[in-house]
């Protein structure tokens, strides 16, 4: 990752200095746009087929109910000659493959066609897969929170990209934890899973305590998929004093659409948080 901690520390310092600050929910006269297609496509190396979710955007002030897009023609192919059509499941807008599974080192192409428009993305499932060696819990560098440290040995000499999802007592933390080896090439990882802005507010339900059963899922990502999630995190934290002008994340789909296609590894470790 870049130096995300710098900005977080600055924001924290600004927070200390401005204890007098106050927040309130405001009603704004926001502009609207026509519904935009969102594609969320995942293929992991866990033996499961590819899943694709299609939905449409809504106005900001509406409730979080995103219309499903049915009847799309979706094909997945790989660089080993594999090819299949994904069928819509009983859940509208959710499509699933049958035979093709994620293989490390293979390149996959996904084509989504709906309402006369086609969108194409390609993604390589990284090789070799960097395994998750163990999971540790420690006191957070900042504050008194508990954070998890995924231990893995970064391979030297090649750029690597990682994504982590964290579950507390079975509940998914919405924060998308990202790490890369820009400054840590070849190191045994010692960095904790810090919120880098994403995941809206880390609410209390995500705070770890002694005795919690936690699970961490580690993904090895393709660089373009990583870039999508990095910029998605920026979008999620947009608007703060130490953030850039808000923009939409960089999709790896061609054709101007929201969302991503990620072919990734999936390794998990669990832990009961000890007394710290």
């Amino acid at each position: 990752m870049q130096f995300p901690f710098i900005l977080r520390q600055l924001a924290l310092a600004a927070g200390l200095l401005t204890a007098a600050s106050c927040q309130k929910v405001v009603t704004l006269d926001l502009k609207n746009t026509s519904p935009q297609l969102t594609i969320e496509a995942n293929l992991a190396d866990d033996g499961q087929p590819c899943t694709v979710l299609l939905s449409k955007s809504v106005d900001y002030t509406q409730t979080n109910s995103f219309p499903a897009v049915s009847g799309a023609a979706i094909t997945l192919s790989d660089d080993a000659g594999g090819r299949e059509t994904l069928a819509e499941t009983s859940t509208p807008g959710k499509y699933r493959g049958r035979t093709l599974t994620g293989q490390s080192g293979r390149r996959y192409m996904l084509r989504v066609e709906t309402e006369g428009q086609a969108y194409v993305a390609a993604c390589t499932l990284p090789a070799p897969v960097v395994p998750l060696l163990s999971l540790k819990a420690q006191k957070s560098v900042v504050g008194t929170n508990i954070q998890l440290v995924p231990e893995y040995q970064d391979p030297a000499g090649v750029p690597n990209y990682y994504l982590f999802r964290q579950y507390r007592n079975g509940r998914l933390n919405k924060t998308i934890f990202l790490q890369n080896d820009e400054f840590t090439d070849g190191k045994l990882n010692a960095r904790g899973l810090n919120a880098q802005g994403g995941g809206n507010n880390a609410d209390d339900a995500d705070k770890l305590a002694t005795g919690d059963s936690v699970r961490v899922e580690m993904q090895n990502l393709d660089p373009n998929a990583f870039e999508y999630f990095r910029t998605l995190n920026q979008t999620l934290q947009a608007g703060g004093a130490f953030s850039t002008t808000p923009a939409n994340p960089k999709s790896n789909f061609a054709g101007g659409v929201l969302g991503y296609f990620s072919a990734h590894s999936r390794r998990q470790r669990s832990l009961v948080v000890p007394a710290l």
Partner: protein
């Protein structure tokens, strides 16, 4: 002020200055007095402190319209026909002094003015600008005298020249509590901020809540919003020229202040009585003392403070030679648990004034200036650090030549050697991170200028200038050329000192004024400015880790052309003044970066850059009340500032973040009694141009905002009322100790002015999203005790 010394009878040099070379030796000889003309020259100083009175007016009572103004070093020169005259020197706040002389040959005449008895009872807010504003050619110039701003209420009670500056039309603060500012629609990095001629790269302390300038050390500040004279260059939008006090050369004095979160102490006195003086000031905040009150362990153990020192000394060797030294050192310290950041500026200026003849004044300056930060992080029992600096070595040679009372010629040379080291990680081999490569770059920026001030008639004044600036990026290092998608096209490695690329630019400057009556004038001006250092900021407010990139193979020098005009009027014998100024500015080769770029630690920042253009225009109205018990001003700006980049907003023009069409500020100071004075400011403006969502969509398990056109929305408008009161014990004869109390309330009405608006899932109902507004300061009362002895 350094403007306009040298007016009255004489022959125009015309546009010969465009020749641009060979002035030094020839002009130095041109001192013989033709046709019985003689030159009087000397200095104008304060009799009690020995402080130079920059901008003091010197005129001949018998020859109306013949006069000049003292330069930045208090020096004046006036060439007139031989005769018997009454010479009058005057300055705001000082009774005029007259001397009658029979002038048969050139002679030296020094004035020492004693401040008038109005020290406590008569507050003059705008001082010297009123008359000078009518007669000098330049428009868009404002001067703030530190004494004048002392009573304006400010945040945390810490008087601040930069914060007060943003109360003038055309100068807008970058955000609540920020020391960054935008001049006439420009970006925050387009202001040349000079402290005794040294560039100050980061003018903010504590993330911007304080500026780096300790008011105890400052004499005055002049800002050029447009039409800057040719001796200044390097930034597109403005020049903020801050002069430190010289220090009292008659007597040892001290002063200081104790405030809620900062205290100050200053000491000044003679080195050799009447010949040299020194000034030392120091300041430290103790905001972190309050953190100790917190129950939260992290907050309790955090450190958060800054300190700064100013030092200045000058020594008059003799009538013709004078030496000055000034220095600044400031540091912010910020530490939270295993994280520490300390950052700050250092500057040092060594100046040598020399009078070749009574008409040729020279100033040689050697300047060092540096901004650096160091971040230290402790992880797994191992430290690593991130270091960055920008450092200048600067040599300047300036001449002022006054062949006759109607004209002044300034010319000079300047060379700056820049060293920029972007953030570099240093870590032990077994640390959790790797060290990064050194990406230090070097560049040489040189300039030569000629500027000619000419009073063509009693009514018509011209300032014509030309600046030639050159910028060379130097090796060693590897530099690449990029295509429009940010992909490297070619790379080349250069040896130490080898030129990577050189850019040459001509910057014409022109200003003219015409006095319709002694109290009314019209002005017009044009200026081109070039900028070769570009600031990339990752945040809406300024951050200590903002990144400077030099002009390179890809980044071209930024250009600005500004046309401006104005109407200036003194009313009721100078009790009021009014000005209306208009401008239009064309900006070329502006630098921005691609959406989603993260600049912190970016090892290949040039690949993320985009180049575009901008335009800014507006009208600025200012009405000042300059005398009486009530003084102050009302300023209003109507303006627009836009940018256009092929890869942002689909190539359409968009509003710059700082585009705030309406901007109003009212400042009033009322002397209630000899003891009490009251003050108030009202600030109101349109909100910043920002980007709000135009919808939302579902991805990665959550609702995500969908963004449309850049800066297509606005924060709600900003309004604030501040009040202040100053209690001063009337000065007693023979008493040295003098003290005052300053009370102020920032944002009296407690209006929650939006600082940021963020969009998030409703914490109580995950099916909804909401807009959350953060306001920084609801109401901040403060008290400061000031003393002097």
């Amino acid at each position: 002020m350094g403007l306009g010394w040298g007016r009255a009878a004489g022959r125009p040099l015309g546009l010969l200055l465009l020749a641009g070379a060979g002035f030094g030796p020839q002009t130095a000889q041109a001192q013989a007095a033709p046709q019985g003309r003689i030159t009087i020259s000397g200095t104008v100083k304060d009799a009690q402190t020995g402080e130079d009175l920059t901008g003091a007016s010197v005129r001949l009572v018998e020859l109306p319209g013949v006069g000049t103004a003292a330069n930045a070093y208090g020096f004046y020169t006036l060439t007139v026909p031989a005769g018997t005259y009454t010479v009058e020197a005057s300055f705001v706040g000082y009774p005029a002094q007259r001397r009658q002389l029979a002038l048969g040959k050139s002679q030296r005449l020094d004035f020492k003015l004693t401040p008038g008895g109005q020290e406590l009872n008569e507050v003059v807010v705008t001082g010297r600008s009123s008359q000078a504003n009518i007669s000098r050619a330049q428009g868009g110039v404002e001067t703030l005298d530190i004494k004048q701003i002392a009573k304006v209420p400010v945040l945390f009670g810490e008087k601040d020249v930069i914060k007060t500056l943003t109360l003038l039309p055309g100068i807008k603060t970058a955000g609540e509590g920020s020391s960054g500012f935008s001049v006439r629609g420009g970006n925050v990095d387009q202001n040349l901020i000079l402290l005794d001629e040294a560039v100050v790269y980061n003018a903010s302390h504590l993330l911007g809540f304080f500026s780096t300038f300790n008011s105890d050390a400052i004499k005055d500040l002049t800002v050029f919003k447009g039409g800057m004279p040719a001796q200044y260059g390097g930034r597109l939008s403005s020049v903020v020229d801050i002069k430190m006090k010289d220090g009292n050369n008659q007597q040892l004095h001290g002063s200081g202040g104790i405030g809620l979160i900062a205290s100050r102490l200053a000491l000044e006195g003679p080195l050799v009585k009447g010949k040299g003086s020194f000034l030392l000031t120091g300041r430290r905040t103790y905001a972190d003392v309050f953190l100790k009150l917190s129950r939260n362990e992290t907050t309790k153990n955090a450190s958060l403070y800054f300190y700064d020192f100013n030092a200045k000394a000058n020594y008059t060797l003799n009538d013709r030679n004078r030496l000055y030294f000034s220095g600044y050192l400031g540091r912010d310290v910020l530490g939270i648990n295993n994280f520490g950041n300390n950052y700050g500026n250092q500057t040092a200026t060594l100046r040598y004034n020399h009078l070749f003849t009574d008409k040729l004044f020279s100033n040689t300056t050697l300047i060092f200036s540096k901004y650096s930060y160091q971040i230290k992080i402790r992880a797994n029992e191992q430290d690593f650090s991130i270091d960055s600096k920008i450092q200048d070595l600067n040599l300047k040679q300036d001449f002022e030549y006054s062949p006759g009372a109607r004209q002044t010629l300034r010319f000079g040379l300047n060379a700056i050697y820049h060293t920029i080291s972007p953030g570099r990680v240093t870590a032990a081999a077994d640390a959790v991170v790797n060290s990064t490569a050194d990406r230090t770059n070097h560049s040489l920026e040189t300039a030569g200028y000629v500027s000619h001030e000419w009073s063509a008639t009693d009514k018509l004044d011209f300032t014509t200038g030309l600046r030639l600036s050159q910028f060379s990026l130097l090796g060693s290092g590897t530099y690449s050329a990029y295509d429009t998608n940010g992909k490297i096209v070619s790379s080349q490695t250069y040896n130490t000192g080898e030129v990577v690329k050189t850019y040459l630019n001509l910057e014409p400057r022109f200003a003219a004024s015409y006095a319709l009556t002694p109290d009314v004038s019209l002005k017009a001006g044009y200026a081109r400015n070039v900028q070769n250092l570009h600031l990339l900021s990752n945040s809406a407010s300024t951050s200590p880790t903002d990144l400077y990139v030099p002009t390179s193979l890809n980044v071209k020098p930024e250009l600005a052309d500004q046309l401006s005009g104005g109407y200036y009027r003194r009313l009721q014998g100078g009790a009021y003044s009014f000005s209306a100024e208009i401008y239009y500015k064309w900006l070329q080769r502006q630098v921005d970066y691609r959406d989603g770029t993260n600049l912190n630690g970016n090892q290949d920042v040039e690949s993320t850059l985009l180049y575009g253009k901008g335009r800014a225009y507006g009208i600025e109205l200012l009405l000042r009340k300059e005398t009486g018990r009530l003084t102050g001003w009302v300023g209003y700006t109507l303006s627009k500032s836009q940018r256009q980049f092929a890869d942002i907003n689909a190539g359409a023009w968009f509003n710059a973040r700082q585009d705030r069409p309406h901007d109003l500020s009212v400042v009033g100071i009322y002397q209630l009694s000899p003891k009490w004075s009251l003050s108030g400011t009202i600030v109101g403006s349109t909100g910043n141009a920002v980007t709000f969502p135009i919808g939302k969509y579902f991805v990665a398990g959550q609702a995500v905002s969908l963004y449309g056109a850049r800066n297509g929305d606005r924060l709600p408008s900003y309004q604030r009322l501040d009040l202040g009161a100053t209690l001063e014990k009337p000065h007693q004869q023979g008493q040295r100790w003098h003290s005052s109390w300053n009370f102020s309330i920032y944002n009296v009405l407690g209006r929650e002015n939006p600082y940021t608006i963020t969009f998030e899932t409703n914490p109580d109902d995950a099916t909804k999203t909401q807009a959350l507004q953060t306001a920084l300061f609801r109401m901040i009362p403060s008290a400061t005790y000031n003393f002097s002895f």
